[in-house]
Amino acid sequence: MIDTTTLWITMLSIGIGSYLMRFLFIGVIGDRPLPPWILRHLRYTGVAVLPALVAPLVLWPAATDGAYDAPRLIAAFVTLAVGLWTRNVLLAILSGGASLYLGLALLG
């Protein structure tokens, strides 16, 4: 069980810290132009950070204590394939979810 004081200190710190990071550029830097090389790197934040977050979760799922899991791996590939093919985020998620449940029912 998490200690109540610890929990509130953690939530407050992360909350304030996250807000400051969100405010950093938009609030402090304002409309002063940013150098092109910074902008060039920032274009690739989403496409770099999100895959970096996902890759370990796909290969070593927490639900199986990090053991390789075929239904989850297949579901990840189905999501990716449908997303690339249709460019439809929602359809990709639904396909991935359907594949996961089907896989867990058949293989799990």
Binding site: G17, S18, I26, R32, L42, A52, A63, R72
Partner: protein
């Protein structure tokens, strides 16, 4: 072409943000469930979502707290996961930086994956939008997303342990992230950035406190920028 009204741009944003509801419902419900299993009550779970408003960071902090990790480790890990918010803020600055400070202060709270992803794409497309249009679009995207985040966190905390493990809600997170990534893979530079990020994050997964994600994220960004420069040189 007639100039759009700010109202119509707000609705445009709302329509773009609405599909994310289906993504956020399992995600935030899951957070509520995990929080209640870790011993948080409904108010505490909701407070977490209201204050942090970032799923990955919330999950990371909660998991570490439940594992009895030191408090400062939980805080630093969550903030590290949220470093991308600073990057989003920077990416939005060329478009929103000229707005009055109080509007920027409010907008900053709503800088999340969805508002960033939608806004950057649309701002690039609609160069004729003025500041009022841009802000209307930004808050339009946030309008359907944020209330569902709060609401489903509470619902999940209420449902608590009633949800069986067989629902495999754990994998809602990876599937959601994967689906969000695919439309971003527009150019060879984007693809290269993603591939390098994946490889590096697997190589550096042994690093403690999610540091591997940061290393891989920065490696991916540098790769994307370098490939972009290379491709531009080849064209000229």
């Amino acid at each position: 072409m007639p100039r759009p009204t700010t109202k119509s741009v707000f609705w445009h944003g709302l329509r773009d943000g609405a599909p994310f509801i289906l993504v956020l419902v399992p995600f935030s419900t899951l957070f509520g469930v995990v929080a209640s299993e870790a011993g948080l009550n409904v108010i505490e779970a909701l407070t977490f979502s209201v204050m942090v408003l970032a799923g990955a960071a919330q999950f990371a902090a909660l998991q570490l707290l439940a594992e009895d990790a030191p408090t400062f480790i939980a805080i630093i890990t969550a903030l590290a996961v949220n470093l991308r918010m600073a990057m989003y803020s920077a990416a939005l600055t060329p478009y929103l930086g000229a707005a009055p400070l109080w509007q920027r202060a409010i907008a900053a709270y709503f800088v999340v994956d969805q508002t960033y992803a939608c806004s950057v794409v649309e701002y690039e497309k609609h160069t004729d939008w003025d500041m009022a249009h841009r802000l209307a679009y930004f808050f339009g995207v946030a309008a359907p997303v944020v209330p569902f985040w709060y609401g489903c966190t509470m619902a999940g905390a209420w449902l608590g342990t009633a949800i069986p493990d067989s629902l495999a809600l754990d994998f809602a997170i990876p599937i959601t992230f994967l689906a969000i990534i695919t439309p971003m893979l527009r150019t060879p530079a984007h693809v290269a950035a993603a591939i390098v990020a994946v490889v590096m994050s697997l190589i550096f997964a042994f690093l403690p406190y999610s540091l591997g994600v940061l290393v891989a994220g920065f490696a991916g960004m540098i790769t994307g920028a370098q490939v972009e420069v290379m491709l531009e040189r080849r064209q000229t």
